[in-house]
Amino acid sequence: MSQWFMVTLVGKDQIGIVSKITMALYQVGCHLGETSMLRLGGNFTIMMMVSYTGLAPTLENLLAPLAKELQLHIHIDAIEGQLHQHQEPTVRISVHGADRAGIVAQVTQALAQVGLNILNLESDVGGDTNNPFYVMHLEGTATVDLPTIEMALQNLLNSQPDLKVTVQLIETVMM
Protein backbone atom coordinates (compact mmCIF):
# COMPACT_ATOMS: atom_id res chain seq x y z
CA MET A 1 0.00 0.00 0.00
CA SER A 2 1.63 3.21 -1.10
CA GLN A 3 1.25 6.56 0.56
CA TRP A 4 1.85 10.13 -0.62
CA PHE A 5 4.71 12.08 0.92
CA MET A 6 5.63 15.72 0.47
CA VAL A 7 9.37 15.79 -0.15
CA THR A 8 11.13 19.15 0.18
CA LEU A 9 14.73 19.64 -0.96
CA VAL A 10 16.63 22.92 -0.90
CA GLY A 11 20.26 23.69 -1.62
CA LYS A 12 22.77 25.58 -3.71
CA ASP A 13 21.91 25.20 -7.38
CA GLN A 14 24.03 22.92 -9.53
CA ILE A 15 23.60 20.82 -12.64
CA GLY A 16 21.97 17.42 -12.13
CA ILE A 17 19.92 17.91 -8.95
CA VAL A 18 16.59 17.03 -10.57
CA SER A 19 17.92 14.09 -12.57
CA LYS A 20 19.81 12.51 -9.66
CA ILE A 21 17.01 12.92 -7.13
CA THR A 22 14.23 11.72 -9.40
CA MET A 23 16.31 8.80 -10.71
CA ALA A 24 16.99 7.68 -7.14
CA LEU A 25 13.26 7.79 -6.40
CA TYR A 26 12.40 5.99 -9.62
CA GLN A 27 14.90 3.21 -8.86
CA VAL A 28 13.23 2.43 -5.52
CA GLY A 29 9.78 2.28 -7.11
CA CYS A 30 8.46 5.74 -6.23
CA HIS A 31 5.93 7.60 -8.33
CA LEU A 32 5.96 11.37 -8.64
CA GLY A 33 2.78 13.39 -8.46
CA GLU A 34 2.45 17.16 -8.72
CA THR A 35 5.76 18.97 -8.25
CA SER A 36 7.21 22.45 -8.14
CA MET A 37 10.90 22.86 -8.86
CA LEU A 38 12.56 26.23 -9.28
CA ARG A 39 15.65 28.28 -8.65
CA LEU A 40 15.26 30.98 -6.01
CA GLY A 41 18.19 33.28 -5.36
CA GLY A 42 20.84 30.79 -6.40
CA ASN A 43 19.22 27.95 -4.47
CA PHE A 44 17.36 25.17 -6.13
CA THR A 45 14.07 24.28 -4.46
CA ILE A 46 12.01 21.16 -4.94
CA MET A 47 8.62 20.36 -3.48
CA MET A 48 7.10 17.21 -4.80
CA MET A 49 4.42 14.65 -4.13
CA VAL A 50 6.09 11.25 -3.95
CA SER A 51 4.18 7.99 -3.70
CA TYR A 52 6.11 5.31 -1.81
CA THR A 53 5.20 1.99 -0.23
CA GLY A 54 7.30 2.41 2.94
CA LEU A 55 7.50 4.83 5.83
CA ALA A 56 8.83 8.39 5.86
CA PRO A 57 12.06 7.51 7.74
CA THR A 58 12.82 4.77 5.20
CA LEU A 59 12.31 7.16 2.30
CA GLU A 60 14.47 9.75 4.04
CA ASN A 61 17.24 7.18 4.58
CA LEU A 62 17.09 6.26 0.90
CA LEU A 63 17.55 9.87 -0.15
CA ALA A 64 19.95 10.96 2.61
CA PRO A 65 23.26 9.92 0.98
CA LEU A 66 22.35 11.67 -2.26
CA ALA A 67 21.04 14.76 -0.46
CA LYS A 68 24.35 14.90 1.42
CA GLU A 69 26.36 14.53 -1.77
CA LEU A 70 24.37 17.36 -3.40
CA GLN A 71 24.34 19.40 -0.16
CA LEU A 72 20.55 19.60 -0.07
CA HIS A 73 18.38 20.02 3.00
CA ILE A 74 15.68 17.41 2.96
CA HIS A 75 12.33 17.25 4.68
CA ILE A 76 9.65 14.60 4.30
CA ASP A 77 6.06 14.51 5.56
CA ALA A 78 3.35 11.95 5.01
CA ILE A 79 0.38 13.85 3.53
CA GLU A 80 -3.28 13.20 3.03
CA GLY A 81 -3.35 14.83 -0.40
CA GLN A 82 -4.38 13.00 -3.50
CA LEU A 83 -4.11 13.50 -7.22
CA HIS A 84 -7.00 14.54 -9.45
CA GLN A 85 -8.20 17.21 -7.06
CA HIS A 86 -7.32 20.27 -9.10
CA GLN A 87 -9.17 23.47 -8.44
CA GLU A 88 -9.52 25.74 -11.43
CA PRO A 89 -8.35 29.29 -10.79
CA THR A 90 -10.96 31.89 -11.63
CA VAL A 91 -8.90 35.03 -11.19
CA ARG A 92 -5.38 36.15 -12.00
CA ILE A 93 -3.70 39.11 -10.33
CA SER A 94 -0.46 40.73 -11.38
CA VAL A 95 1.33 43.32 -9.26
CA HIS A 96 4.45 45.33 -9.85
CA GLY A 97 6.06 48.33 -8.28
CA ALA A 98 9.23 49.70 -6.73
CA ASP A 99 10.43 47.07 -4.28
CA ARG A 100 9.70 47.62 -0.61
CA ALA A 101 8.70 45.50 2.35
CA GLY A 102 5.04 44.56 2.58
CA ILE A 103 3.83 44.26 -1.02
CA VAL A 104 2.93 40.57 -0.79
CA ALA A 105 1.56 40.89 2.74
CA GLN A 106 -0.64 43.88 1.98
CA VAL A 107 -1.98 42.70 -1.37
CA THR A 108 -2.75 39.19 -0.16
CA GLN A 109 -4.31 40.50 3.04
CA ALA A 110 -6.77 42.52 0.98
CA LEU A 111 -7.46 39.48 -1.19
CA ALA A 112 -7.95 37.14 1.77
CA GLN A 113 -10.51 39.54 3.19
CA VAL A 114 -12.76 38.97 0.19
CA GLY A 115 -12.24 35.22 0.38
CA LEU A 116 -9.79 34.74 -2.47
CA ASN A 117 -7.94 31.45 -2.14
CA ILE A 118 -4.47 31.51 -3.70
CA LEU A 119 -3.66 28.43 -5.77
CA ASN A 120 -0.27 29.58 -6.96
CA LEU A 121 1.90 32.61 -6.48
CA GLU A 122 5.28 33.52 -7.80
CA SER A 123 7.19 36.69 -7.25
CA ASP A 124 10.54 38.03 -8.20
CA VAL A 125 12.79 41.02 -7.69
CA GLY A 126 14.18 42.70 -10.79
CA GLY A 127 16.17 45.85 -11.47
CA ASP A 128 19.42 46.38 -9.59
CA THR A 129 20.56 46.98 -6.04
CA ASN A 130 19.84 50.70 -6.21
CA ASN A 131 16.52 50.43 -8.02
CA PRO A 132 14.92 47.09 -7.32
CA PHE A 133 11.38 46.39 -8.46
CA TYR A 134 8.97 43.70 -7.35
CA VAL A 135 6.79 41.59 -9.64
CA MET A 136 4.15 39.17 -8.38
CA HIS A 137 1.69 36.96 -10.23
CA LEU A 138 -0.94 34.91 -8.52
CA GLU A 139 -3.90 32.81 -9.50
CA GLY A 140 -6.72 31.81 -7.23
CA THR A 141 -10.35 30.99 -6.78
CA ALA A 142 -12.76 33.71 -5.82
CA THR A 143 -16.45 33.53 -5.10
CA VAL A 144 -16.88 37.29 -5.37
CA ASP A 145 -16.97 39.27 -8.62
CA LEU A 146 -14.26 41.43 -10.17
CA PRO A 147 -15.48 44.82 -8.83
CA THR A 148 -15.52 43.41 -5.28
CA ILE A 149 -11.90 42.30 -5.61
CA GLU A 150 -10.94 45.64 -7.10
CA MET A 151 -12.71 47.47 -4.30
CA ALA A 152 -10.84 45.39 -1.72
CA LEU A 153 -7.56 46.58 -3.24
CA GLN A 154 -8.60 50.21 -3.54
CA ASN A 155 -7.48 51.38 -0.09
CA LEU A 156 -4.04 49.92 -0.61
CA LEU A 157 -3.74 51.49 -4.07
CA ASN A 158 -4.88 54.87 -2.76
CA SER A 159 -2.06 54.87 -0.24
CA GLN A 160 0.52 53.41 -2.65
CA PRO A 161 -0.40 54.79 -6.06
CA ASP A 162 2.79 53.60 -7.79
CA LEU A 163 1.77 49.96 -7.32
CA LYS A 164 0.35 48.64 -10.55
CA VAL A 165 -2.24 45.94 -10.05
CA THR A 166 -4.01 44.03 -12.81
CA VAL A 167 -7.00 41.90 -11.89
CA GLN A 168 -8.45 39.62 -14.52
CA LEU A 169 -11.00 36.88 -14.55
CA ILE A 170 -9.70 33.63 -16.00
CA GLU A 171 -12.27 32.37 -18.42
CA THR A 172 -11.70 28.70 -19.09
CA VAL A 173 -13.24 27.48 -22.34
CA MET A 174 -14.39 24.01 -21.29
CA MET A 175 -15.05 21.69 -24.21
Binding site: H86, N120, N158, K164, T172, V173
Partner: protein, 171 residues
Protein backbone atom coordinates in the same frame (compact mmCIF):
# COMPACT_ATOMS: atom_id res chain seq x y z
CA UNK B 1 -30.54 8.98 -28.89
CA UNK B 2 -27.47 7.84 -27.03
CA UNK B 3 -24.63 9.30 -25.03
CA UNK B 4 -21.45 8.19 -26.71
CA UNK B 5 -18.27 7.12 -24.95
CA UNK B 6 -15.60 9.83 -24.88
CA UNK B 7 -12.04 8.81 -25.70
CA UNK B 8 -9.66 10.27 -23.15
CA UNK B 9 -5.96 11.08 -23.31
CA UNK B 10 -3.60 9.19 -23.60
CA UNK B 11 -5.75 7.07 -25.94
CA UNK B 12 -3.65 7.01 -29.16
CA UNK B 13 -6.78 7.17 -31.31
CA UNK B 14 -7.07 10.86 -30.43
CA UNK B 15 -4.07 11.39 -32.71
CA UNK B 16 -5.92 10.01 -35.75
CA UNK B 17 -6.47 12.29 -38.72
CA UNK B 18 -10.19 12.56 -39.47
CA UNK B 19 -11.49 11.96 -43.01
CA UNK B 20 -13.80 14.36 -44.87
CA UNK B 21 -17.52 13.65 -44.75
CA UNK B 22 -18.91 12.73 -48.19
CA UNK B 23 -22.36 11.31 -47.43
CA UNK B 24 -24.96 13.57 -45.79
CA UNK B 25 -27.27 10.65 -45.12
CA UNK B 26 -29.55 9.27 -42.42
CA UNK B 27 -26.63 7.72 -40.58
CA UNK B 28 -24.97 11.14 -40.31
CA UNK B 29 -28.16 12.72 -38.94
CA UNK B 30 -28.49 10.01 -36.28
CA UNK B 31 -24.86 10.44 -35.33
CA UNK B 32 -25.23 14.22 -35.04
CA UNK B 33 -28.11 13.81 -32.57
CA UNK B 34 -26.00 11.49 -30.42
CA UNK B 35 -22.92 13.69 -30.72
CA UNK B 36 -24.83 16.76 -29.59
CA UNK B 37 -26.41 14.90 -26.70
CA UNK B 38 -22.95 13.74 -25.64
CA UNK B 39 -21.62 17.29 -25.88
CA UNK B 40 -24.43 18.63 -23.66
CA UNK B 41 -23.58 16.14 -20.89
CA UNK B 42 -20.00 17.45 -20.66
CA UNK B 43 -18.75 19.78 -17.95
CA UNK B 44 -18.46 22.71 -20.33
CA UNK B 45 -20.61 21.43 -23.11
CA UNK B 46 -19.78 24.15 -25.63
CA UNK B 47 -18.15 21.99 -28.27
CA UNK B 48 -17.36 18.47 -29.42
CA UNK B 49 -15.61 16.83 -32.35
CA UNK B 50 -16.46 13.42 -33.82
CA UNK B 51 -12.99 11.89 -33.16
CA UNK B 52 -13.59 12.38 -29.43
CA UNK B 53 -16.23 9.64 -29.63
CA UNK B 54 -14.18 7.44 -31.96
CA UNK B 55 -15.71 8.51 -35.29
CA UNK B 56 -12.82 9.79 -37.37
CA UNK B 57 -14.71 12.14 -39.67
CA UNK B 58 -14.51 15.91 -39.99
CA UNK B 59 -17.55 16.77 -37.87
CA UNK B 60 -17.74 19.39 -35.12
CA UNK B 61 -20.61 20.80 -33.08
CA UNK B 62 -20.16 24.11 -31.28
CA UNK B 63 -22.67 26.07 -29.24
CA UNK B 64 -21.35 28.85 -27.03
CA UNK B 65 -24.74 30.56 -26.66
CA UNK B 66 -24.74 29.75 -22.92
CA UNK B 67 -22.07 32.43 -22.44
CA UNK B 68 -23.46 35.89 -21.87
CA UNK B 69 -22.06 39.07 -23.39
CA UNK B 70 -20.24 37.48 -26.33
CA UNK B 71 -20.92 37.46 -30.04
CA UNK B 72 -21.71 34.03 -31.43
CA UNK B 73 -23.65 32.13 -34.08
CA UNK B 74 -25.67 29.90 -31.75
CA UNK B 75 -25.72 26.15 -32.30
CA UNK B 76 -23.49 25.20 -35.21
CA UNK B 77 -22.96 21.90 -36.97
CA UNK B 78 -19.66 22.28 -38.80
CA UNK B 79 -18.85 19.60 -41.31
CA UNK B 80 -15.56 19.61 -43.22
CA UNK B 81 -14.70 22.95 -41.58
CA UNK B 82 -11.78 24.99 -42.79
CA UNK B 83 -10.33 28.13 -41.32
CA UNK B 84 -9.29 30.35 -44.21
CA UNK B 85 -8.16 33.45 -42.33
CA UNK B 86 -6.66 34.16 -38.91
CA UNK B 87 -6.25 37.50 -37.19
CA UNK B 88 -4.69 38.45 -33.85
CA UNK B 89 -3.81 36.15 -31.00
CA UNK B 90 -4.60 35.76 -27.33
CA UNK B 91 -3.71 33.40 -24.53
CA UNK B 92 -6.68 31.70 -22.92
CA UNK B 93 -7.36 28.76 -20.68
CA UNK B 94 -8.92 25.62 -22.11
CA UNK B 95 -10.25 22.36 -20.82
CA UNK B 96 -11.52 19.33 -22.71
CA UNK B 97 -13.72 16.29 -22.07
CA UNK B 98 -10.92 14.17 -23.55
CA UNK B 99 -8.38 15.59 -21.07
CA UNK B 100 -10.06 15.33 -17.64
CA UNK B 101 -8.83 17.20 -14.54
CA UNK B 102 -6.45 19.46 -16.39
CA UNK B 103 -6.68 22.91 -17.92
CA UNK B 104 -3.96 24.88 -19.62
CA UNK B 105 -3.13 28.05 -21.45
CA UNK B 106 -3.21 28.01 -25.24
CA UNK B 107 -2.55 30.69 -27.84
CA UNK B 108 -5.36 31.01 -30.42
CA UNK B 109 -6.32 33.47 -33.11
CA UNK B 110 -8.83 36.01 -31.82
CA UNK B 111 -10.68 36.28 -35.15
CA UNK B 112 -11.17 33.65 -37.82
CA UNK B 113 -12.97 33.26 -41.10
CA UNK B 114 -14.49 29.81 -41.38
CA UNK B 115 -15.96 27.83 -44.26
CA UNK B 116 -17.99 24.75 -43.34
CA UNK B 117 -20.89 22.62 -44.48
CA UNK B 118 -23.99 22.06 -42.38
CA UNK B 119 -25.78 18.75 -41.81
CA UNK B 120 -27.36 18.95 -45.26
CA UNK B 121 -24.08 19.65 -47.04
CA UNK B 122 -24.82 23.30 -47.68
CA UNK B 123 -21.73 25.50 -47.50
CA UNK B 124 -21.70 28.43 -45.06
CA UNK B 125 -19.13 31.08 -44.20
CA UNK B 126 -18.67 32.58 -40.77
CA UNK B 127 -16.66 35.38 -39.22
CA UNK B 128 -15.99 34.50 -35.61
CA UNK B 129 -14.20 36.08 -32.70
CA UNK B 130 -13.16 35.54 -29.11
CA UNK B 131 -14.68 32.69 -27.15
CA UNK B 132 -16.48 31.16 -30.15
CA UNK B 133 -13.37 31.38 -32.35
CA UNK B 134 -11.35 29.69 -29.60
CA UNK B 135 -13.89 26.88 -29.26
CA UNK B 136 -13.91 26.27 -33.02
CA UNK B 137 -10.10 26.21 -33.25
CA UNK B 138 -9.97 23.75 -30.34
CA UNK B 139 -12.50 21.45 -32.02
CA UNK B 140 -10.91 21.60 -35.47
CA UNK B 141 -7.63 20.57 -33.84
CA UNK B 142 -9.34 17.30 -32.84
CA UNK B 143 -9.94 16.60 -36.55
CA UNK B 144 -6.20 16.88 -37.12
CA UNK B 145 -5.28 14.66 -34.17
CA UNK B 146 -4.26 17.53 -31.92
CA UNK B 147 -5.25 18.18 -28.31
CA UNK B 148 -4.86 21.48 -26.47
CA UNK B 149 -2.08 19.90 -24.44
CA UNK B 150 -0.09 19.75 -27.70
CA UNK B 151 -0.22 23.55 -27.75
CA UNK B 152 0.31 24.43 -24.08
CA UNK B 153 2.21 27.51 -23.10
CA UNK B 154 3.60 27.96 -19.60
CA UNK B 155 1.12 28.69 -16.85
CA UNK B 156 3.79 30.45 -14.87
CA UNK B 157 5.21 33.07 -17.13
CA UNK B 158 2.37 34.21 -19.35
CA UNK B 159 1.69 37.86 -19.24
CA UNK B 160 -2.01 38.32 -19.49
CA UNK B 161 -2.72 41.91 -20.37
CA UNK B 162 -6.29 42.77 -21.06
CA UNK B 163 -7.51 45.00 -18.31
CA UNK B 164 -5.24 47.25 -16.32
CA UNK B 165 -6.65 48.25 -12.99
CA UNK B 166 -5.46 51.65 -11.92
CA UNK B 167 -6.10 53.47 -8.70
CA UNK B 168 -8.84 56.04 -8.83
CA UNK B 169 -7.57 59.63 -8.50
CA UNK B 170 -7.70 60.99 -5.00
CA UNK B 171 -10.14 63.80 -4.40
Amino acid sequence: MAILKILTYPDPQLKNLAAPVTAFDEDLQTFLVDLEETMRTGPGGVGIAAPQVGRFERIVIVDVSCKSKITHHGRLVLINPEISEWEGFDIGREGCMSVPDYTGNVIRATQIHLVAQDETGTVHEYDMEGYEARAVQHEIDHLDGLLFIDRLVSRRHDLFQRKVYQPKPKN
